[in-house]
Amino acid sequence: MRAFLLLFLLFLLVGCEKREERVVTFAVGGAPNEIEFWEKLVREFEERKGIKVKLLRQPTDTDQRRQGLVVALRSGMKDPDVFLMDVAWLPQFAASGWLEPLEGSGLKREVFFKRVVKLVDIYSGKLVALPVYVDGGVLYYRKDLLEKYGYSKLPETWEELLEYSLRVQRGERKKSPQFFGFVWQGAQYEGLVCTFLEFASSRGGGITFRKGRLVLNTGPNVEALTFMRDLIHRYRISPPNTYTEMKEEEVRMFFQEGNALFERNWPYAWALHQSKDSKVRGKVGIAPLPKFKGGRRASTLGGWHIGISRFSDTKRESLEFLKFVLSYEVQKRLALNLGWNPGRTDVYEDRDVLKRMPHFKVLREVFNYIVARPVSPYYTQVSEVLQKYLNSALSGRLSPEEALRRAEEEVGKVVERYSR
């Protein structure tokens, strides 16, 4: 008898889980200053609309952000209601039917980057998300150091970048032994695929599906990957932990500590490099990434999109919040305060923005060179394979040819598994 009493007590406990009132839960991650800014926006929205919003702070790492959302959505949880999604995994969410269609919400989709919306935000004819900001890889450089070593123009090609780096590194090492010419994302994670795509595309290669097959093991791709490996092991202008630890934030910190001449990163780093405690404040320039001799410039499309969970219990309120985030006013403030490239094109013509963010001119140019990663619901599995083999090549464990050959073969199996 008592045994059942125990069980009963236990299930009572199960029943006692607290239920929350009608609140929009907004899941977002990012750098500290970004979170602070979101907190401010949320408070303003609450005051203005009288709708309660709770900010659910996610980690900075995009894989971990995805994990939290996948668990919640897959189990049909009511929270979070609104969230930001990386372009890389948005297709998985859309194809899994986790996103509430935004049709009929009165949102004018023409004001957003048309190509981007068409590429990722529309799934089987329905609008399911919209870009909060668009991203592209850019080159940061130390103006003061280029001047010091007598360089009057920026490196146009990767070959030139290498040349500059070698010389400046040799000179700077005398004072700071930790100095490196060029830092970029090479750890085994999504960022590596982005970096590779840029090198490869600027050599005339890329990551493309042709007739349902991934074409990867091509001459230009091998050359690009070889070059990346050589930056670390042969020319040694990139630190040896490039392929183990270097993600966005590690790279940004490295550069911000004044330990590098060039940096490949996303536009978000600009505002942080100019912050008060930055050692490179006022010494940084921004430019499109170089290309290989005879190639064309390339910049990987990144960015975050906002959507509403299909399982949300506050869809109406959530939509209000989504509209708020995508409004001209908020998009402009995101640009001014966080240095983000708004998903809305009209903000780029705003006089305040152009005045206070002169580098937006450069960014607008960058968007001409945008290249996209394959858009597919199983992109994460494809990427997992790519990350593994690209990283093996960087570590020197496999030759670039071998790495790409195996990656192509393994991706073939992934494609076969999921497309039928």
Binding site: A3, R74, S96, N241, E245, Y378, V385, K388
Partner: protein, 299 residues
């Protein structure tokens, strides 16, 4: 047969036994056995969040056969067991011999020994992560200071380095457990045997190799099997320390399955889990038989 035996049990006792056992049976059935069977079932489906669910029977397993990453993770997992468990056994025995002696602060020593085992692995793994850090980790600091290497070692960045790092951390974490098991074995050896051997003129090492080791064998078998099954399921350590890298070289089977769950592919992830389950199950049958043998001896 059942009827025959039933006669020997009083119905009153049977009823009570059933009531007393019911909660345990319910819990284990619902939260362990049912999920295991569920995993077996899911592994026969193509169950992906963005595709129609479809019964594919053994297709997931056939795909595993030609999946290089699966073989790599299987190889890593087995290698990890084969390298770390023996190290733990040797070190664990040494520690057990120490804390079995009548020495000052014995209680304190035992406590110290327990701490690495008692602390959450995910937490201590982060300390190890920092110890192996390329730029300012303790390991490189010491190596450089002592002049053993000129350049910092890229612990977590090379395949071998990452493997060694994982083994060291695992040995640190689980040696205490092995030592405690050996301690129990040592305490079961009657002191008179040693006294007699000493009278017969056997020295310290002879006594250890002729008496202690042979008598510890059953306990050692239990510890070995238990640790092997435990090491097979390694997850926390690789998740925190290496994320399965570099180049996927330290992705354990558990982590490989988990990564598929995360990507929304439950069928394939379940198939990987089933394989791990079967390997572990075979070993645990051996373990159960060994400890059964032991409890027979103890009686």
């Amino acid at each position: 047969m059942l009827k025959g035996t039933l006669g020997r049990y009083s119905s009153d006792e049977l009823r009570d036994a059933f009531t007393f056992l019911l909660p345990l049976i319910l819990f284990i059935s619902i939260f362990i056995l049912l999920p295991v069977m569920g995993t077996f079932l899911i592994s026969t489906y193509r169950e992906v969040t963005f595709l129609e669910k479809e019964f594919v029977f053994l297709e997931n397993y056939l795909k595993l056969l030609s999946d290089g990453a699966f073989w790599q993770s299987l190889r890593f997992t087995l290698l990890f067991v084969l390298v770390s468990v023996p190290l733990e056994m040797v070190l664990g025995l040494a520690f057990a011999l120490i804390i079995n002696e009548r020495i000052p602060f014995r209680g304190l020593l035992r406590t110290v020994l327990l701490i690495p085992w008692a602390v959450p692995l995910a937490v201590s793994a982060r300390v190890w992560e920092l110890i192996y850090n390329y730029n300012y980790g303790l390991a490189n600091l010491l190596l450089l200071k002592m002049g053993i290497t000129d350049e910092p070692v890229n612990w977590l960045g090379t395949e071998l380095g990452a493997f060694i790092a994982l083994v060291i951390s695992d040995v640190w974490k689980t040696t205490p457990f092995v030592a405690i098991i050996f301690l129990a074995g040592l305490q079961a050896i009657p002191g008179e045997i040693y006294a007699q051997a000493q009278i017969d003129g056997a020295n310290l090492f002879q006594r250890f190799f002729r008496i202690t080791l042979p008598l510890l064998k059953p306990v050692a078998v239990v510890a070995l099997l238990f640790r092997s099954v435990d090491a097979l399921r390694v997850f926390d350590l690789v998740y925190v320390l290496t994320h399965g890298g570099p180049g996927g070289s330290t992705t354990s089977l558990s982590l490989y399955a988990y990564k598929h769950f995360l990507a929304g592919d439950f069928g394939y992830g379940s198939a990987v889990s089933v394989i791990l389950f079967l390997i572990a199950f075979l070993l645990s049958i051996l373990y159960v038989r060994a400890s059964g043998f032991l409890s027979e001896v103890a009686r």
